[in-house]
Amino acid sequence: MTPGQRARMQELLGAAVKRGLFPSSAPGAHGAHGAHGAAGAAAPAAASPARATGEADRLVRFRAELTALAGTVHEADGVEAIADLVAELARAEGSPRVIAWSEGALGVPGLHASIAARGLEIVPPDVDHDGRSRQEQLDRLASASVGVTGADVILADTGSIVVLSGPGRPRLASLLTPVHVALVHPDRIVGSISELLATRPELVSAGSNLVAITGPSRTADIEHTLSRGVHGPREVHAVVCRFAAAAGPGEP
């Protein structure tokens, strides 16, 4: 922003703010206005009825919430089980191409090889903006059937899967394909989005894109009738992998 523009913005907004803001508090509510919302300084009560305390409880809650949104929750005891699931889903979609996070980001060494061993192709995730390669890259990526990602954290109250972009973590793996498989670790679970952003605000800046995915893509624009798989994935599968070493954000 040019210094002139910035100064103009300051001038207009500064004058407006000095005029003071009406009204002082909400009609009938006990909220206080302005900087002295003393009660408001505390973090809001965790947004959940009968707040799940232990991790086991939270996982049960996560499973219930995601299932209610037509997602599916699986358990996998090893690499082969995951690869089997991916292969089955790819076959059902009719394309052997897969977009996947790197093994380091997934925390499951050997997964890429297992997937390839089942006749699937993990396509290169890069999308360039210049050059002739872009069209080829996009064609390959757009023909993939399954996207495999990890999950930096899952949210119990809403059945959400939170993923951060970064090296080894293409955004498109959770976005472009009709089917999304997310490897989730039971240790990395919190209650809600408000809890996550209050306790780990640094996650927001750890990559260019942090997204909370809450079930499959949907719309009710046409006659308020629900349809899934509009632009994002039509199916979301969360695979609970207790055996995996969960990689931290920013680790490729």
Partner: protein
């Protein structure tokens, strides 16, 4: 911002005369209100969260200059560009400038009310840019050259047969493509997917900017918000200057109430937080990020007694709750911002002369205030705008004159008594069983659909006086 050239009462008549739209709007509104209630019931501490959400908005606006300045610093530190657009023209000029400088030809858009407010699509198309709306409802609107009728559910007013017809006639669909809603959705997905893959520009709105991190948060259910901001080379985010919160923690609170109020979901499917353009080592994402901070009258509203409308987070709940909106739908308001929030925001931004009728399209029942996640007192501001309208000379002649006459009579007790007695006697002549079935002149509008109670033959004051005389002053 204007969506119609027809006068207000004509738009209302058109809306009321369309039974299909009325049915659709009422049906959706009722369901949405039920979903909202259920979602908030499930949320522990919902009321406290709404209070907190309001505090956050109030706090932000009370120091908007400081927070916005921080936001600019952070976005630029990440390599993004920020423009402060004082007017709609400034915003258009900036976007067109970026398009020209980067040689952009195909734009995909995810939902942005601001872009409709400033009429961005028209400007870009005039420059030869192909603009593709990707929100399913907005895509249909674009094909039909129609206007959205609700800020969250744009084709609320269309049946699935309407959509099928549009796809067949204007999008190259086959009969099989429009068999049912899932087929139509898949058709739209295929067509719009091509747009995403071809586009070099992605234009989005912003649900919330986060000042401390320079992030923009975009909430969608379809996934078009993510594709728009991932595939094309350049991303332009259109953001009203008031759509800001200070910190990620504050964003979390807003996200808890936004979807629950608007659609009854706990969260929209994609709560997408973007912090700068693609980073080194990342595989996808835009090379360039531009945030256009659109003022367009907002700084004028800030610091006045209408400033509270800037708390709005565009959830759409007040539209669903409003008995007037439920009967009319969005088009009758003649503005891109309809319903209760639009009845305040449109005249606030555009000036009272432009939308002076909208604040009158309300019974002041307060349903909007009850459902608002940040507890905005819309009825208070509707009254204020009505006052402003009258002060600006926007009353119809017969009301202005009538109020003057009434004021003259009512401030003179003798005249008031006389007039009252005369009215009582006249009404006595016309009344049947204590009701007036027909009243003359403009008052006839009332009695067209219901009866008006006839005034008593004798006024209370007269009866009281008589009673006092009879009982000698004792109660």
């Amino acid at each position: 911002m204007h969506t119609s050239a027809l006068p207000f009462y004509r738009r209302i008549d058109d809306a009321l005369a369309n039974p299909q739209v009325r049915r659709a709007v009422l049906h959706t509104a009722t369901r949405a209100m039920a979903s909202r209630a259920a979602a908030l019931d499930r949320l522990q501490g919902a009321d406290a969260l709404r209070d907190e959400a309001r505090r956050i908005r109030a706090r932000t606006l009370a120091e908007l200059d400081r927070h916005l300045d921080r936001f600019v610093t952070e976005v630029e530190a990440l390599g993004g560009h920020v423009c402060y657009a004082e007017t709609a023209q400034d915003a258009l000029a900036y976007v067109r400038g970026v398009v020209r400088a980067r040689g952009l030809r195909v734009a995909v858009k995810s939902k942005s009310m601001i872009s409709e407010e400033i009429e961005l699509n028209e400007a870009l198309e005039a420059d030869g840019v192909e603009v593709i709306e990707t929100d399913l409802g907005e895509y249909v609107i674009q094909l039909d050259r129609d206007r959205p009728s609700h800020i969250v559910a744009p084709i609320l007013h269309k049946s699935k047969e309407d959509v099928a017809r549009t796809f067949l006639a204007k999008a190259g669909a086959t009969a099989e493509d429009v068999t049912d809603v899932p087929h139509m959705t898949q058709f739209a997905r295929r067509v719009l997917r091509q747009g995403f893959l071809r586009a070099d520009l992605g234009i989005s709105g912003v649900n919330f900017g986060v000042a401390e991190t320079g992030s923009v948060c975009i909430c969608t259910n379809e996934g078009n918000g993510r594709l728009t901001t991932t595939l094309p080379r350049v991303h332009i985010a259109m953001m009203g200057i008031e759509r800001l919160v200070p910190s990620p923690r504050d964003l979390g609170v807003m996200l808890e109430v936004l979807a629950r109020s608007g659609t009854g979901q706990s969260l929209t499917v994609y709560s997408n937080i973007l912090t700068g353009p693609r980073r080194p080592g990342e595989h996808d994402g835009p090379e360039e990020l531009h945030v256009v901070l659109v003022d367009n009258g907002r700084s004028r509203v800030l610091g006045t007694d209408l400033a509270e409308i800037l708390y709005c987070i565009r959830c759409g709940a007040c539209l669903y709750a409003c008995p007037v909106y439920q009967q009319l739908g969005g088009h009758a308001y003649g503005s891109i911002y309809s319903g209760p929030v639009g009845a305040v925001l449109s005249p606030a931004l555009a000036g009272i002369h432009d939308f002076h009728d909208l604040p009158h399209a309300s019974s002041l029942c307060g349903a909007c205030r009850e459902v608002c996640p940040v507890r905005i007192d819309i009825p208070r501001m509707l009254l204020r705008l009505r006052e402003q309208g009258v002060a600006a000379g926007e009353s119809p002649m017969w009301i202005a004159l009538g109020m003057k006459v009434f004021g003259w009579i009512a401030s003179r007790p003798a005249a008031f008594r006389t007039a009252g007695a005369a009215a009582g006697r006249l009404a006595g002549l016309a009344a049947r069983d204590g009701w007036l079935g027909r009243m003359p002149g403009h008052a006839g509008a009332w009695t067209r659909t219901r009866d008006f109670p006839a005034p008593a033959a004798e006024s209370f004051t007269a009866r009281w006086k008589k009673r006092q005389r009879r009982t000698g002053g004792r109660a």
